[in-house]
Symmetry: C2
Subunit: 196 residues, 2 copies
């Protein structure tokens, strides 16, 4: 087998193994030895592909981010062209997906836990979001209202992710539906200020 392919296979195996362990045993049991065992690789092979545990976590995070970035892109693609704020809506829809997808919870924990030694692991998230925010602002009739809708979706997603959401499942779903509903916000948007 080609080396490049071999490496890629191994790296994928590692990421899948990490996800399996986190889901099955919790993020506390995500050790290099466990990953090696679960992936079928030896520890040597593992550390050949990822020099440190932080590197594994980073790959894991990038994998997750790409997964949801793709979700967002696809959603944007198939959105009603008449939709006035497509970027905002696709971001909110993605956040709903994050909040709903069951396995994500412990992955979030795992990464948060690792943040202790790798504080700027999350900077990639900021980069992505900053971009998204720019676009949301640009397309919005009332940018602040759009940001607030985004923030609310984030709040629902993060509280759910960390299992500290005091709202019922129905409440959350209804709120997400509202956040996605243009009609609901249309007449709530600030009318453009008359020129002074």
């Amino acid at each position: 087998m080609e080396n490049a392919l071999r490496s890629e296979r191994s790296r994928n195996a590692v990421i899948q193994a990490a996800l399996t362990i986190i889901g099955r045993d919790g993020p506390g049991r995500l050790t290099l030895d466990a990953i090696a065992r679960e992936s079928g690789l030896s520890k040597g092979g593992l550390t050949h592909q990822f020099r440190t545990k932080g590197a594994v976590l980073q790959a894991l995070l990038e994998y997750q981010i790409e997964y949801f970035a793709k979700f967002s892109r696809d959603y944007l693609q198939e959105i009603d062209p008449a939709q006035p704020e497509p970027r905002l809506v696709s971001q909110i829809a993605t956040l709903r997906e994050i909040a709903v997808t069951r396995q994500q919870h412990s992955v979030a924990f795992a990464i948060l836990g690792a943040l202790t030694d790798a504080p700027d692991l999350l900077s990639i998230i900021i980069e992505r979001d900053t971009e998204a925010i720019e676009q949301i602002k640009a397309e919005a009739a009332d940018p602040d209202l759009a940001l607030l809708r985004w923030a609310a979706a984030r709040g629902l997603a993060l509280t759910t992710l960390f299992r500290i959401c005091p709202l019922s499942r129905e409440d959350r779903e209804r709120l997400f539906d509202l956040l996605l509903d243009d009609q609901y916000w249309q007449h709530r948007a600030d009318p453009p200020k008359p020129g002074v």
Copy 2:
């Protein structure tokens, strides 16, 4: 000195020491030995007061929660009586305080990090919030809109806490101001539905 007082002093010393360490060295350096050293207690004394590290974390979390609960109570006390949704507003104000207070960030990390082994440490947060949510719903003309305001504040607070907020400081402050501003939401609330 009385035993009860002796214990209380020691426990307080431990919590303060923990906060000092987290703020100065980061949550990764929060070990039992470090806490003992910083607090002036011996390891034996420390483990006499807190049987496990989880117990320390729990006390730390309770301390923080009580701190902000008091902030919220005080805010509620001094609020304009004409304020239509005082509970919501005081909750939002508290969340703004959390987002702004500098030291909180790493404390949040420390506790999240420990969540690995003590998954239901956070249930106390849910309990408090559930209560708050009930009151917010009860006093609101448009409960869903109130929940969304709350969720947005949470989103801003949590993203800031975990340093993944893509918004500028000014943006955040302006958004918090908006969330607190009744005028802004008044005409946005759903008019009470006409009886069928």
